[in-house]
Amino acid sequence: MSQIVPLIILIPALGSFINIFWGSRLEEKQSALIAIFASTGAFIIALLLYFNLLATNYQEAIINPFFFDSWLRIPSGGVEIPWQMRVDTLSVTMMLVITGVGTLIHVYAVGYMHGDERFSRFFAYLNLFLAFMLVLVTGNNLLMLFVGWEGVGLASYLLIGFWFDKAKGEGYRNANAARKAFIANRVGDFGLLMAIFLTFWTFGTLDFFKPGEIVNPDVQTGAAWSDHHGDAYGEDDGHGAEEGDHTEGEASLGATFVLTSNAYAEEVEDDHGDDHATDPAIAAAPVFPDNSHLTMEQMGAFGQAERMIAEQEESGEAIMVQFGPFEFRFGVVITIITLFMLLGATGKSAQIPLFVWLPDAMAGPTPVSALIHAATMVTAGVYMMVRANTFFHFAEVTSFIVAIIGVITALVAGFIAIGQWDIKRVLAYSTVSQLGFMVAAVGIGAYVPAMFHLVTHAFFKALLFLGSGSVIHGVEHGHHHVHDHGHDDHHDDHGHEEAFDAQDMRNMGGLAGKMPITFVTYIIGTLALAGIFPLAGFWSKDEILADAWLVGIGGGGFLHSLSGYIALVGLLIAAGFTAFYMWRQIELVFFGEPRSEAAEHAPESTAWITIPLMVLAFFVITLGAMNTPWGHRFATWLEYSARHAHAGQFQILLAIIALSVGIGGIYLARVIYGDKKGYDAERDLDALQKTPAAPAWHAANQRLWWDDVYFAVFINPFIAAGKFLADVVDWRFLHDDFHNLLTAGFQRAGGMLATPVDRGVIDGSVLGLGRFAQWAGDRMRRPQNGFVRSYGVWLLSGAILVVIFLLIPLFQNGG
């Protein structure tokens, strides 16, 4: 069953391929249908994998696609990286979110992108994104993760800059935003690459886990043993074993599953397969409930790390890792690896210090913002860190830094969101802030809440973005409506049209009655984001806070404990910010009186847009049920793929505090912005200037000058250096001065060479040879005067000479 997993990548890739190469010949409907079919197909496969996991007691599988079994093999270097895909609870969670939300957004985009000149290209990119994102989450090694990581970066770049050709400099801004995202991500990618290199150096493999390895011995059902040998053990291989497709030789180790509670040596019983989902303690396990029978080479990076950590704890001596001439303690190496991973996560998941690209990424079409920059791609960093939970769990210092970065990001982004006017920009900063929640959760070791928040956030943030897109669409329509009907005689008044910003909340207001479906769904998303009971956001946010509290009082080391307290306080404040800015948005957009003619004439969006909104809203309401404090089903589910996942404990007091913070934020926003007459920007700003809050608001409005600082510290010097290099060094020096100098030098050298060398030596030798021949001929001509008698004299003198030569020995002998 799990063998179908390559299709989940192939289908969107195929959809993208068709739309790229034949898109221009297809109708809008055809392009959209292809893309939606591809996305839906992927979703169905994800669902099948999900049910398969349920049916096989969370039996993870490692699949070698038949067309790609090994794609990087350097025998001399010991490098062998198989194109392996991993189907386990963690990857299936991500697959479900990506394809589920992705499909809804595809449907939405049909309505949103209607009429765009590059309609099919947009869907090609969306499918491409899905394919790469699924590569990212299905890979069984860090390099496949990296391939997907770069691929989604590419798709993100293409889609942020999708409207690169808009008029009036807007296209330039869009392209710039795309470049910004790409460059900021390059910095993060460097970190991830370094982490990959170090991992390979330390463990000799990039695989997460190798076939036959058990991820979490505490709950594990046993690795997927080969089904070929499983049959020999009779009735007990029923679940799981069938899914193993491993070609490795461990099959002989057998697939005998025995029932265990804690001692695993008990006898086989027939009812072992029942109800494992809710009771991890009673799970079928193989004869080898841990990995002790495996050699290091038979384990992936995480398994090796677990064993080294265990050995280190047992012996009390630090294991050393050799890096050429250097030697580091194992703990130090893991800390460095995780720090580099964190750098990667700050890029992709938009954390401080690299988060600046995400708000600008809102230049892309709204479905892109919802899918890539809220629901899926930006969570890749969180996914990666949860995947590497073995490392992060062990690296205490890194975990502390991760928690701090997450909390600061949540606070800073939440604060900035308060001062923004652009409807999408508020949501963008909100996304950064919520990602901060997830990262902070990873930092305090709350991997399940992090993933839980990732899932719920994907749904309600996608809902909010799509809702905002619906609002923008409505306002734009209203604007065109006004322009076409109300101002027929002002067609020359184009300046008015271009100046209108359909995303500025100051131009909205009073949309609740005009766009009822959008309004209701938006309210649901907002309440979920603000963490109001009983919506999804309440449960996931509360899980994080509860875990932070537990970590704080748990006393698991000073740093760990401290990070728990910091996360608790920081995230509570950030939750207050969240409720405030979200309700501010509701007030500005939906309540009060319309503040522009466009808002007054805004129509409700089409069914293409409203149906995805309603579906998402349904999930936002119900999704919290998957990990309620009474069931912790999600925790149980994730424990099978994350070694250090654990269920949190519900704290009723904390839940009440968090809820009151959320309601307090909403109340405050209602007080400040909930003016019956509607918000008046100028009047209220004037009023604000007189309050003590003015500097704070200004700071938030100016985004804490974060971008300005980057511009001052990095970008402007960089541009100045570039200009200097281009203008002074390249143009003036190289092209002018150096070039002239070089020409003059060549001229002089040529002149110097021409007379003495060319004329003197070369010409002289050739001409001299000729002159010599002439002279010699002249001389040799003289004896040949034609007079026979002179020849006779020569003949005679020759003869006399011969005679003399003949006579010389005679005289010598005789003498």
């Binding site: 040799m780 001509r781 005067n785 034609g786 007079f787 026979v788 008698r789 006779g792 005679l796």
Partner: protein
């Protein structure tokens, strides 16, 4: 074995040398082709005389034999040479060899 000559061999050699020198000078100094021709004959016969004298001195017949060859070749040479001189005379109306210098370098 021939009886010993009353005349010493040195006398023959000196005569031969004198004849050769006269012939050489005749070749080099005379301009009349006939006379040059005759001088050549004189040189040949000077050589012949020396050959015969030495042959007798050493009681070796090779010298005599060689003289016959020389006289035979000289006779043939006279025939060719006189024919050439006649041909030259016909073309130039003269047998002055100094006028024959068309092949100068």
């Amino acid at each position: 074995m021939l009886p010993a000559s009353p005349v010493e061999v040195e006398a023959y050699v000196i005569l031969s040398f004198v004849l050769f020198v006269i012939g050489t000078l005749g070749v080099l100094l005379r301009r009349n082709a006939i006379l040059v021709f005759m001088s050549v004959e004189l040189m040949l016969n000077a050589g012949n005389l020396a050959l015969v004298a030495f042959a007798r001195q050493w009681n070796n017949l090779d010298g005599h034999l060689f003289v016959f060859f020389v006289m035979t070749v000289a006779a043939a040479e006279v025939a060719v040479g006189l024919a050439l001189i006649v041909a030259i005379f016909r073309s130039k109306n003269s047998i002055d060899i100094d006028e024959l210098h068309q092949l100068e370098g």
